[in-house]
């Protein structure tokens, strides 16, 4: 990432890696309707939410759209690509969100919304 910031969200209770990724991807997709997802390990590309087998993923790149994916492929962590991709890493304890600039309004919203979803709505649930 260009600079980059890691935000680690530990989730409570019954949440697992597949669920953490699912929730985060779904929220980002709501912001970026033309999103494209890439499996960070195998490189597979998913163009729609229904295609994604979250149980077999632990790390994904979520691009704003196909153009962003192509630009990242071509230029990598170039300033022109800033805030057009979110990097998600999940395990059974928590989710790490990597963004270029956490003060960017879109990134800030995405982070807040994912944090709400992963912890806020279930904060009353006892952690295991």
């Amino acid at each position: 990432m260009i600079g980059g910031a890691d935000i680690v969200i530990e989730y409570p209770g019954v949440m697992r890696a597949s669920g953490g990724l699912d929730i985060a991807v779904r929220r980002i997709a709501a912001r970026w309707p033309d999103f494209v997802i890439q499996d960070a390990t195998a490189g597979n590309r998913f163009d729609s939410y229904s295609q994604i087998p979250f149980a077999s993923l632990s790390e994904v790149f979520v691009y704003r759209d196909s153009l962003a994916l192509e630009s990242w492929k071509e230029l990598g962590a170039d300033p022109s690509n800033a805030n057009s991709m979110v990097h998600l890493i999940a395990d059974d304890c928590g989710l790490t969100i990597v963004v270029d600039d956490r003060t960017n309004p879109t990134m800030l919203s995405i982070i807040r919304e994912i944090r709400d979803l992963l912890t806020g709505s279930q904060s009353w649930v006892r952690a295991a």
């Binding site: 697992r16 229904s50 279930q122």
Partner: protein, 267 residues
């Protein structure tokens, strides 16, 4: 009808969300089988007429098992909703949402002794097709327990459903079980058959990992003796053992804990 086939597979899936003990009785297994069958029919009814590829056209038991391989948390959510006795129509609504439909509106109206009315509208993943759901069954309100909540630009968003943490009940191979503020603990009497006093092994029980052996409680004339197995922080474990002991006494009575033989049935 008893537990769904293949039984081992379904038990493992139920265990993932700590519903295995809830569905250990034949009548509860029959309920689950029936409810999931009815859900499959309700889903097929609601998805009828939708363009192919937008959503799966069926939600059979086999479909659920396949989805479990891809996205186990979705199946956990469906099973919890079934355990809350949500109606087949609302299960279909939850399943469609889990598969990518968007909740456009959700309304609940309640009048004591008279009405409990839930209404939901989904926008399917094609971005055009809407489906509406309505239920007057009070148990369907449990759907709100599974809803994920957030605010987007300070506006409310209910995006999805997710399984909640359900504490495990009576883990196998234990005699007693107690939930405390410090965690859930099980106790097993491992004293030899000729012994006149019980000898308790205490495990801390977790939902997502194997139980942790905390220590032993021996009964002696002066009362219980707490023996921590942790050599690094024995005091912490000893305090846990002591708290667990008092919680067990409160729950089961001192007689059960201090006298042999331990009645295993009915606990």
């Amino acid at each position: 009808m008893t537990l769904l086939e293949p039984q081992d597979r379904w038990f493992a899936i139920l265990r993932e969300v700590n519903l295995d003990s809830l569905f250990s009785e034949p009548q509860h297994q029959a309920f689950l089988s029936q409810r999931l069958g009815d859900f499959g029919q309700a889903y097929a009814r609601h998805v009828r007429g939708v363009t192919a590829g937008v959503l799966p056209s069926t939600a059979s038991l086999a479909d659920i098992l396949i989805e479990h391989e891809r996205n186990p948390h979705r199946v956990g959510t469906l099973l919890e909703a079934a355990a809350f006795q949500c109606s087949p129509d609302i299960l279909a609504m939850i399943w469609m949402t889990l598969l990518g439909a968007r909740i456009e509106s959700l309304a609940y109206e309640y009048k004591r002794g008279e009405a409990s009315l839930l209404r939901a509208t989904l926008l399917l993943p094609d971005g055009q097709t809407e489906r509406t759901f309505e239920s007057s069954d009070l148990w369907d309100v449990a759907l709100f327990r599974l809803a994920t909540l957030s605010k987007a630009d300070d506006q409310p968003v209910i995006d999805d459903f997710y399984p909640i943490w359900i504490p495990p009940r009576h883990p196998a191979d234990h005699d007693l079980y107690v939930a405390t503020a410090q965690g859930d603990f099980s106790a097993k009497d491992v004293a030899p058959s000729g012994s006149t006093l019980p000898h308790w092994q205490i495990h801390e029980v977790y939902g997502k990992q194997s139980p942790r052996f905390v220590g032993r409680i021996d009964l002696q004339e002066g009362g219980p003796v707490f023996d921590s197995v942790d050599v690094v922080a024995p005091e912490r474990n000893r305090a846990l053992l002591e708290r667990t002991w008092h919680a067990l006494v409160r729950k089961y009575g001192e007689q059960i804990l201090t006298h042999k033989p331990t009645p295993h049935a009915g606990r």
